[in-house]
């Protein structure tokens, strides 16, 4: 086990409450195939804190030392990257911030102008998508993201590959990442196509319970006052959680899901009228990850019931006249179908 760091982000396990959000993030850490997490809600509820904390929590990955896209094996290293150091090292799981208004060049990468102009060399300067390969890509205020960047992300998230064809360059590299987005729904909405790309979506709100709020403030204050001591206090909890994630990853392939569970998932999605089959698949994957996380040998209805709201609520057709909100609709339907 590693030693506690003296400086670092706020520990994931020290976040008070927000269980839905934390669970969704843990599930994607167990099975990145679930897809991304969308966190929508009020300001100052610890959305970004959770993402940054997650980075410290995730088990490190093994990757080629000099590789700009964190390739796992030497043969995966893209040709354009002039990698001299081919040794395999442990790197922390990348968690890359995609700032709002980032230029396209910065996201996908571009011709290295400096090299082109000073050395007359045509070289590719990898962007954020390269850095995020095999890790997480975090977009704060995702609903304010420029449309052309959204299009680009959709394309890459779909194909798992970033293709750059411009300025005489023709470059491709792997770009498989878990997309984590956060935002405030009052500032604008997300296009359904992008919504669908997120595996899970959670709604967070400021805790209304005074004791919870006091707890949040107390812990944050303790962290701000003496980071090293606070990190040391929570190191064990974080490491236990990390061990749990690692165990769950191993167990994932052995978790059974029999036909009745598949039928439950399908019936739920039909009853809710969610588009496409992505809903069923995500629901099943998330339920399986939850079962693995809790050490259960098989997926049960209870697992499905618990992940259904976050796996499905953003996939429903928007009904402008329904004021009840999609969460209520999902919960209602889950109760009817899985009664």
């Amino acid at each position: 086990m590693t030693e506690p760091a003296t400086t670092g982000p706020f520990p994931f396990s020290a976040i008070v409450g927000q269980d839905d959000m934390k669970l969704a993030m843990i599930l994607t850490a167990i099975d990145p195939g679930i897809g991304g997490v969308l966190v929508f809600g009020d300001r100052g509820t610890g959305k970004s804190t959770a993402v940054r904390g997650l980075a410290a929590l995730l088990p490190p990955i093994k990757a080629v030392a000099g590789c700009p896209v964190n390739s796992a094996v030497e043969t995966d290293v893209p040709e354009w990257a002039q990698v001299h150091d081919h040794s395999i090292v442990e790197k922390p799981t990348p968690v890359v911030d995609l700032p709002l208004g980032a230029t396209e060049d910065r996201v996908v990468g571009a011709l290295d102008i400096e090299k082109a102009l000073t050395q007359g060399e045509k070289a590719f300067e990898p962007g954020l998508l390269a850095k995020a390969n095999r890790g997480y890509l975090y977009i704060d205020e995702v609903n304010l993201l420029e449309d052309h960047l959204v299009d680009l992300l959709l394309d890459v998230a779909q194909s798992g590959q970033n293709v750059v064809e411009r300025e005489g360059l023709s470059i491709r590299h792997a770009a498989r990442f878990v997309l984590v987005g956060s935002g405030n729904p009052e500032e604008g909405e997300l296009r359904p196509q992008l919504l669908d790309r997120f595996g899970l979506s959670v709604e967070v709100e400021s805790p209304k319970d005074i004791d919870t709020r006091i707890d949040v403030i107390r812990r944050r204050d303790a962290y701000d006052r003496d980071q090293a001591a606070f990190l040391a206090d929570w190191h064990d909890a974080d490491m236990t959680l990390r061990a749990q994630i690692v165990t769950a990853r191993d167990a994932l392939a052995r978790v059974d899901a029999d036909d009745s569970i598949l039928r439950d998932c399908a019936e739920l999605c039909i009853a809710l009228g969610s588009d496409g089959l992505r809903g069923e698949l995500t629901l099943l994957r998330a339920a399986r990850a939850l079962a693995a996380f809790e050490g259960d040998p098989a997926v049960t209805r209870d697992h499905v019931r618990r992940v259904a709201p976050s796996a499905l609520r953003h996939r429903l057709r928007r009904d402008p006249l329904d004021e009840a909100g999609t969460t209520t609709r999902v919960t209602r339907t889950v109760e009817e179908v899985l009664a």
């Binding site: 610890g46 700032p99 400096e114 405030n184």
Partner: protein
């Protein structure tokens, strides 16, 4: 002491607290117009933070200035890589004038930098005129101190007294200041009851309380410090008046009279028997400090919350990085400009023999700053449809419902096409902007559902509000069009008086003003049969007139589509 003097003292205290621990407080959101009062405040700030690294930003600052980038001119000249330092890379104080025009992108970046605790702090100078012009919420949330000096008179604003020696002493004390357990819970409770939901606020209040204690030479946070913190941090953020906590069973036997002066001695005697909860004292302090326009804000449906993140910021205007490509032009590198490499090399080509000879370096391409060509794109700006809805009594409720239905259909379409939608309703004696241009379906639906009906038909006021809104939208880079949905003739004039003749004249005047500004749009007659005079009004506006006696939602939607989209 007058309210103005008190406010100024508070500003003074805020400045001292901020100077003591800028990083923990995040910064100050100062709302004031440019003028001598603000100058005085800034002088005080200069004095308080003397010796610190201070940098000025501007709302359209680019990424290379914020984060640093390759200094292309120097790199090209020297042939070795030269980098510029970003403004966010070193700790220090950032000053952002015209903060209300900051785009959400900049707000997110600054917010991120402040969150990273790199020792940065920000003073945002918000010069917004109206309540809808304010700094992005994401930024306001990170700045502990919110000050409003808009109405501060210069006579109440003497030079600020900053005692630098006291600051030095307080800075020595600050790390040792302890906070009693109860203080944290009290701050949390006050925040909660003032409707301050963000959890950053109580933490910032805590930091202010610590600073205030250190300033008064104490090493433990005490009640006055908490009051200071609440006045500076929590009260300006309040979204509701504090109510008594529900669990409080100790109701006095006889219901308390509404606040009359002669109650005070009674209350005082009560307090002798049972000391009031500390939270109550703190809440009293907060109440005195609540923003004066809170009631108005609450009535306007929580303007503070609903104001779109960057209204007045020009955020909607898209950069020149996409759209239809136009010929490349000579320009400078950097910013968001993209270099057209081929054109640049083409421009450099003829000079190569000369430059090789001049520099004596034969084996590389010589590119100078003057050769750089920048790509340009032309883009159509987003459309903003402003619905001007007649909610007067003559629009019987059924018609209003139909109109709402039509707008909802249009909204769904606008949503898919990324159009902005704004709502203006007129009824009774005036018009009201229910919603500035937005893409948020949630907000529009909510506002629309709340639209009441009844009263006269102040058509001119409706058109005037629409015109103002359209001008505002245009200044933000949107292309506005006005869709008027009405069924009656104007019978209330611009001043709100029922005067049919004057009302008609005013309406015509406003219609012509709309045409003079070249505002596209259409007039939809939602009356049961075509209304006399509305076609003339449409003519004055220079827009199509559509009588839709059997208007159903779908028909209205289709009509608007064809009228606004001639292509």
């Amino acid at each position: 002491m007058s309210a103005g003097e008190e406010r100024w003292q508070r500003a003074n205290l805020a400045l001292a607290c901020f100077a003591l621990d800028p990083a923990a407080l995040g910064g100050i959101w100062l709302r004031a117009r440019v003028g001598p009062v603000r100058d005085r405040f800034m002088q005080g700030l200069d004095l308080a933070v003397r010796g610190r690294n201070t940098r000025r930003l501007h709302p359209n600052i680019g990424d290379d200035a914020l984060f640093g980038s390759v200094d292309l001119a120097a790199t090209l000249d020297s042939g070795t890589l030269t980098k510029t330092r970003g403004l966010l890379e070193e700790p220090g104080l950032l000053i952002l004038p015209m903060a209300e025009r900051a785009k959400s992108g900049l707000a997110a970046r600054l917010a991120g930098a402040l969150d990273d605790r790199r020792g940065l702090s920000l003073v945002a100078l918000d010069e917004g005129a109206g309540p809808e012009e304010r700094i992005p919420q994401a930024l306001a949330d990170r700045l502990a101190i919110h000050l409003d000096l808009t109405d501060q008179r210069l006579s109440d604003a003497p030079d600020l007294a900053i005692d630098t020696d006291a600051l030095v002493e307080a800075r020595r004390l600050l790390p040792d200041v302890t906070v009693p357990e109860t203080a944290i819970s009290e701050l949390a409770e006050v925040a909660m009851r003032l409707g301050v939901l963000s959890l950053r606020a109580p933490l910032q209040a805590l930091a202010v309380a610590r600073a205030s204690a250190a300033l008064s030479g104490e090493i433990e946070v005490d009640e006055p410090d908490l009051i200071t913190a609440i006045e500076l941090v929590l009260a300006p953020r309040a979204t509701q008046f504090p109510e008594a906590p529900p669990e409080e069973a100790e109701e006095p036997e006889d219901p308390p009279e509404p606040d009359t002066p002669d109650d005070t001695p009674d209350e005082a005697s009560d307090e002798d028997e049972t000391p009031p909860l500390p939270t109550e004292i703190l809440l009293e302090a907060a109440k005195a400090m609540m923003p004066s326009d809170l009631l108005a804000r609450l009535e306007a449906g929580r303007a503070a919350r609903n104001a779109p993140g960057a209204s007045g910021s020009g955020a909607s205007k898209k950069g020149n990085r996409r759209g239809r490509p136009m010929p490349s032009r000579a320009g400078r590198m950097g910013g968001e400009a993209r270099v057209d490499l081929v054109a640049t090399l083409r421009a450099a080509a003829p000079w190569q023999p000369l430059r090789r000879r001049a520099t004596g370096i034969p084996d590389r391409i010589h590119v100078r700053m003057s050769d750089i060509r920048i790509r340009q794109f032309e883009e159509k700006s987003d459309r903003a449809i402003i619905f001007v809805v007649d909610a007067s009594g003559s629009s019987a409720l059924a018609r209003l419902a139909e109109t709402k239905g039509a707008i909802e259909l249009l909204l769904a379409e606008a949503y898919s096409r990324r159009d902005h939608v704004a709502l203006v309703a007129f009824r009774g004696d005036g018009a009201e902007v229910l919603l500035p241009p937005t893409r948020s379906l949630v907000q529009t639906k909510r506002r629309l559902a709340q639209l009441p009906g009844g009263g006269g038909t102040p058509l001119a006021s409706g058109l005037k509000a629409a015109l103002d809104l359209a001008e505002l939208a245009r200044s933000k880079g949107l292309t506005p069009s006005v869709a008027l949905l009405t069924d009656g003739r104007a019978n209330v004039d611009l001043t709100g008086t029922a005067n049919r003749a004057q009302a008609a004249e005013d309406a015509t005047l406003m219609a012509r003003a709309l045409r003079a500004r070249g505002m596209p749009g259409l007039v939809i007659d939602t009356g049961l049969r075509p209304t006399r005079g509305l076609d003339a009004l449409a003519l004055d506006m220079g827009v199509p007139y559509l009588p839709l006696p059997r208007a159903d939602a779908k028909a209205v939607s289709a009509a608007v589509e064809t009228a606004l989209d001639p292509a």
